[in-house]
């Protein structure tokens, strides 16, 4: 007699694949905005990331004697690859996305035990390793295409990324520019005030960094969709963005000459993608409701501190990785009160 089935005797209502595919769907608006403002580079990078990710995943599953089909179709590797593609500048030598993704998949994910067991967000681990190793390439962005400047087409972008060939009459330095966050960090460091910076750099429109605002708003849209679909809970994004807003407001009110306003922080850099798509990675984030708030606040503080005083223009990736290590401790101290137990039981 076969062993009896245990309750519940119902169909599954959810699956890892469904969760991951919803995340991918939620990225689509931001992807469109990104292509619109920064060209086709992200698709080239995404393709490289996806090919690398699936190859490494297959190889690691083989080595670890794990079944291929369920893990290749769970969607997690798809999300990791796309997050890396979003984090990388569009104009970039091909081996950077490949290295970042290979590191993410092989070391950050599989060497720690694969899906569900990795303590660090694989996409951010891959990104940060490359950021530290190749800071120049990793921080040079194309200007938003609505701006004047050289509009790089798909073929140009592809030729550069794959063969390191630039279009005639231009150079890497002419083509690329620093991100708005980078500019603010560097220029305030040189003693310029925010108004001067915003007037003298093309990266800025009247208000935010050109293009970045729209991409961020699209991530916000996707994030709200994920909350609505109950794929993510509100605690982490609200705590992280709230902390960023609070800290930048205090600084802005204290001295608006050297501190950009809160909206610049919320819509600049990786705040939105970080809050809704990266910090909420279920495997590496805190799981208890109160813990998620602590975790989100932690990422907000670290991001703000690195942006304002650190060496890197953005700090979300570092914030996520640093808080990843703290998760077991946070979860331990933020256990919910069990039904019928006193608080300290």
């Amino acid at each position: 007699m076969s062993p009896l089935h245990t309750s519940p005797h119902t169909l599954f209502t959810n699956s890892v694949t469904r969760v991951m595919l919803l995340v991918v769907i939620a990225m689509v608006p931001a992807m469109i905005a990104y292509i619109h403002f920064f060209g086709w580079g992200i698709l080239i990078n995404a393709t490289l990331c996806l090919v690398t990710a699936f190859s490494c995943e297959t190889a690691m599953l083989r080595l670890r004697n794990r079944p291929l089909w369920p893990y290749l179709t769970d969607g997690s590797i798809l999300v990791t690859a796309l997050l890396i593609a979003f984090a990388l500048p569009p104009i970039l030598p091909w081996w950077i996305p490949v290295l970042a993704t290979a590191f993410a998949t092989i070391i950050a994910k599989h060497l720690y035990g694969g899906l569900g067991y990795n303590p660090f967000n694989p996409a951010m681990a891959g990104y940060v390793v490359l950021l530290i190793s190749f800071p120049k390439q990793m921080t040079a962005w194309l200007p938003a295409q609505s701006d004047q400047g050289y509009a790089m087409g798909f073929i140009d972008n592809l030729r550069y990324n794959l063969f390191n060939e630039l279009p005639a009459n231009t150079s890497y330095d002419i083509l690329t520019q620093a991100t708005p966050l980078d500019v603010v960090e560097a220029q305030t460091g040189l003693g310029h005030n925010i108004a001067e910076i915003e007037n003298s750099f093309v990266q800025f429109s009247d208000y935010f960094g050109v293009g970045w605002d729209w991409v961020s708003l699209m991530f916000l849209l996707g994030g709200l969709f994920l909350i609505y679909k109950r794929v993510i809970s509100w605690q982490i994004p609200i705590a992280m963005l709230g902390t960023l807003a609070l800290l930048s407001s205090i600084a802005y009110l204290y001295n608006d000459q050297i501190h950009p306003d809160p909206l610049f922080h919320l819509l600049g850099g990786a705040s939105m993608i970080g809050a809704f798509f990266i910090a909420t990675d279920p495997v590496t984030a805190s799981t208890t409701p109160r813990g998620q708030i602590v975790y989100g606040i932690g990422i907000g503080i670290i991001s703000y501190v690195i942006r304002t005083w650190g060496n890197y223009p953005d700090g979300v990736a570092f914030g996520v990785l640093l808080m990843n290590i703290a998760v077991p401790t946070i979860d331990y101290y933020t256990q919910p009160r069990v039904f019928g137990h006193d608080k300290d039981d």
Binding site: M1, L4, H5, T6, S7, P8, H9, T10, L11, F12, T13, N14, S15, V16, R18, V19, P67, P70, D74, S76, G114, L115, G116, Y117, R230, S233, P282, V283, A285, T287, T288, P289, D331, Q335, P336, R337, V338, F339, G340, H341, D345
Partner: protein, 522 residues
Amino acid sequence: MRKLNAFHGGLKLEGHKQISIQEPIITAEIPEELIHPLHQHIGDTAQPIVEVGDRVLTGQMIAQAEGFISAPVHAASSGTVIAIEPRLVAHPSSIKDTCIVIKTDGKDEWIETTPHNEDYKRMDPSGLRNLIRDSGVVGLGGAGFPSYIKLNPGAKNGISTLILNGAECEPYITCDAALMIERPREIIDGLLIMRHALQAKVCLIGIEDNKPEAIQAMQQALTLQEKTIIDVITIPTRYPAGSEKQLIKTLTNIELNANQLPVHNGIVVHNVATAAAVGHAVLLGKPLISRIVTVTGAAIDRPNNYDVRLGTSMQVLSRQAELQSHKMERLVVGGPMMGFEITELESPVLKTTNCLLTITAEELPQEMHAMPCIRCGDCIRVCPANLLPQQLYWHARAKDFEKLQQYSLFDCIECGCCTYVCPSHIPLVHYYRFAKTEIGAQERDRKKSDIARQRHEFNQYRAERKKQDDEERRRKKKELLKKSQQSEHKQDAIAAALARVNAKKEKAPANTDIDNKKETNQ
């Protein structure tokens, strides 16, 4: 309007209740053979008081309660006892258990009953409780706890609130709903008796809002006077609203402590069907010999509620409900969330059998590879006990029993919400049950080994003491011996001395002579 209180977590589930509640309750046929297990309740097994070959009447007690927590068993119809032997009983582990098997004679001849009508109010509570105990009434909601115990709060616990559980939160099951719709008076009569036994002040009847007909029927059955003490309360449909602790929280906002019983808070909860059974027992003097069972699911052609004699085999019942075996993939006793699968239809309907649910292949997942836990926390959001199911799973896998208890494993009510929402399709509840059993076994082993060790230590101590005692005794004996020997010596010495003296005395003249001689010689 009473203020209701939400409990944490839970699920909104598709009810599937309409399938089995279209038609009135059908009285099931009396089968040729009734199988009465001696153990259909929580507590000690009942002891048979009939023998093979005896003729028994409907309602006759055939096994008596044994021990403080126990319930008797009654013949569900008249006939002859043809066997007292182990038979297959519907149980999660599909075990065989001793059953009294009756071949029915079709006459359904009742024993003489003693209706009490209204005079129960003059009976003293203990007499009333004994009557209910002897009627074999146990919790019909599923737990099967002997009801008379829950009508005996003890002198220390005054009962302020008596709750009737009509929530019936599991999908598919409608036996309580059908009872409330068709026989509300029986429930209320039973409730009044319970209230009298408990001397409870307020009575609440909690019913989920997906059963408007039941709510209406119950409300209409109350007299104006009864309405002042009995409150029919509509509660939101949210699984597991019918779980005792969750129901108490919803209705009274009291959160029972993990190691507390409702009675410690002045609350007693009974199922609506139990109330009706108590009513039968007292007012009509009829013991529990039948119950309403929902037979439902896509493989049943006549899904309905059946009034079934206890001991009827599932085979007979399902045949009457026109089971299409070829459509059925799984047969479950209970609901889809907490019920257990059975594979053998010979097992009988028990006092606790509320539903026979057939499930087709399309309603079940294809056997799929369970993925690793991705720590999404969906389980945390739905857990009505507010546990951390993913941590429990982690520690259950690691068999870290200490951690499991730290994470309050035993507060898990096994409602299945976590498994239901898990995107990784991990059979979480299965892990928790396993861990609980293991811990239980370990604890028993520990107790056993504790006892063994204590015995061993005691034996050693005894041996040691015996040795010491023996030595002591030996030593004393020796001492005594020595002493006596010494004293013998002394006496000998004294005697010898005396003898010498005497001898001297006797010889004295001679001696004197000698002395004299000596003297003379000198």
